[in-house]
Amino acid sequence: MRMGAASAALATLFAVGVAAPAQAADSDAPQYHSVAGEQAARASGIGAFRTMGDNVHFSHTVRGHINAHGWWKNLSGPARGVKAKVTVWLQVKRGGEWKTLTKSAKNVYQGGGSGKRTAAAYKCTYNVGQYDFRSVIDVDLIGYPDDSSKKITATQRLGCGL
């Protein structure tokens, strides 16, 4: 269901921006966090969708790069043709805190695959060491209130220099 102008304005009113997604989160467990906006989302008829992603991994095609991808699947609710802003933060743990190495955002249709996802890539340096990496994925359906829940992928220890 597409939103009218009034409901769009209402959605804007309820939408909660999260400027620094989990950058300081210290938990290693896969997790998400929800803040305000869920009631607005329920009222908007946003329906059901999935936030999806892969664990941070070495690129299979570009030497010395690590990648993380995020995408979404529409299950019910929003009409066909809706895009979502999918944001992926690729993070590393340093000094007990998660720091963002790179952030990437793209407006994509639902589905996944190379043309319907956001990719965050980091080029490893020649500094020796193994570090813990993870990604944070936010899916914000354009024209609908954001429920502000983000997927944090499982921590991966990789020999990728910083």
């Binding site: 896969p30 989302a41 991994h57 690129s59 043309g115 921590t155 991966q156 220890r157 020999g159």
Partner: protein
């Protein structure tokens, strides 16, 4: 702590770090693919879409895996504004998928999929067969495939033998076929020097072990030199995870059928035999068609 799909191996140089990937499996299917006339009418892409149409459509293999109950990606389920479920990979951790569908009639790597494998209990084994299955199904969905070979990067060093299933248990399955049909198939094993993998001296024992596991459903021939039996022309230097590997063992087989199913059996039987040599290391095993079919008179 890193999760169960990651490794914690130390490395002391940049090159060494790059070679110490977390346990990753890659399965690739090779052959020719003919796209149907209706293909362009049903496949829509955005002008700024990244990657090839093959890379995009092969992602359907991820969805197909999910339909079998194999969880391979991370996710949240949002329903009416609430997160009602969270999922993690349990079968394998999807990394990347791609393929080459150039329509020139040449044999190409039509589909490949790379994934992290589970290294903590309960270990479900290296998922070569399920990955080959979803890739095969995806290719069959988009066109007519002539299958010529399969390769698999197997992290034998990071996984243990499957005590719940042994490849010889599939011999009756593959015995159910026309006994007069013959295909010549080539099996190769490649690894990096210095990683503790097999060497040419293991060839006779390896082929004998595969002969035992295939239990009459396959005639395993003596090992041969590279180039004697033509098979898959796999360029190991093209992909990051196989760089530095070279072929060390090659032997021929005579089978009664040729399919991805048979190729997986040969690859997994060889992998099981490799474990028994006591030299677990990352290896690439291929099974590819040399000739056939022919019929015994």
């Amino acid at each position: 702590m890193p999760d169960e799909y990651s490794s914690g191996t130390a490395c002391f140089s940049f090159r060494e770090c790059l070679s110490v990937f977390p346990p990753t499996v890659v399965v690739g299917l090779h052959g020719t693919l003919q796209l149907p006339p209706w293909f362009d009418r049903v496949v829509e892409r955005e002008d700024d879409a990244e990657g090839s149409v093959a890379d995009e459509l092969l992602f359907l293999a991820v969805d197909r895996a999910g339909s079998y109950g194999w969880r391979t990606v991370s996710g949240l389920l949002h329903e009416d504004g609430e997160v009602t479920a969270e999922h993690e990979p349990t079968a394998w951790a999807h990394e990347e998928v791609g393929g080459d569908w150039t329509q020139d009639g040449a044999v190409r790597q039509l589909a490949w999929l790379g994934a992290g494998v589970r290294t903590h209990p309960p270990r479900p084994g290296i998922p070569v067969r399920p990955i080959a299955l979803v890739l095969s199904e995806t290719l069959a969905r988009v066109g007519t495939v002539t299958f010529t070979g399969l390769h698999a990067l197997l992290p034998l060093h990071a996984t243990e033998r499957d005590t719940a299933f042994h490849q010889i248990e599939l011999a009756p399955w593959f015995g159910l076929t026309d006994p007069d049909v013959r295909y010549e198939v080539v099996v190769t094993v490649s690894c990096r020097p210095g990683e503790g993998g097999v060497d040419p001296g293991d060839a006779a024992a390896l082929s004998a072990a595969v002969r035992e596991k295939t239990s009459g459903a396959v005639d395993v021939l003596a090992p041969t030199a590279e180039g004697v039996l033509a098979g898959l022309d796999l360029d190991l230097s093209r992909t990051v995870h196989t760089e530095g590997m070279r072929e060390v063992i090659r032997f021929g087989c005579v089978t009664r059928e040729w399919s991805p199913d048979m190729a997986v059996w040969l690859v997994e039987s060889t992998a099981e035999a490799l474990r028994e040599t006591g030299r677990p290391a990352p290896v690439v095993v291929t099974a590819s068609l040399a000739s056939g079919p022919s019929r015994d008179s």
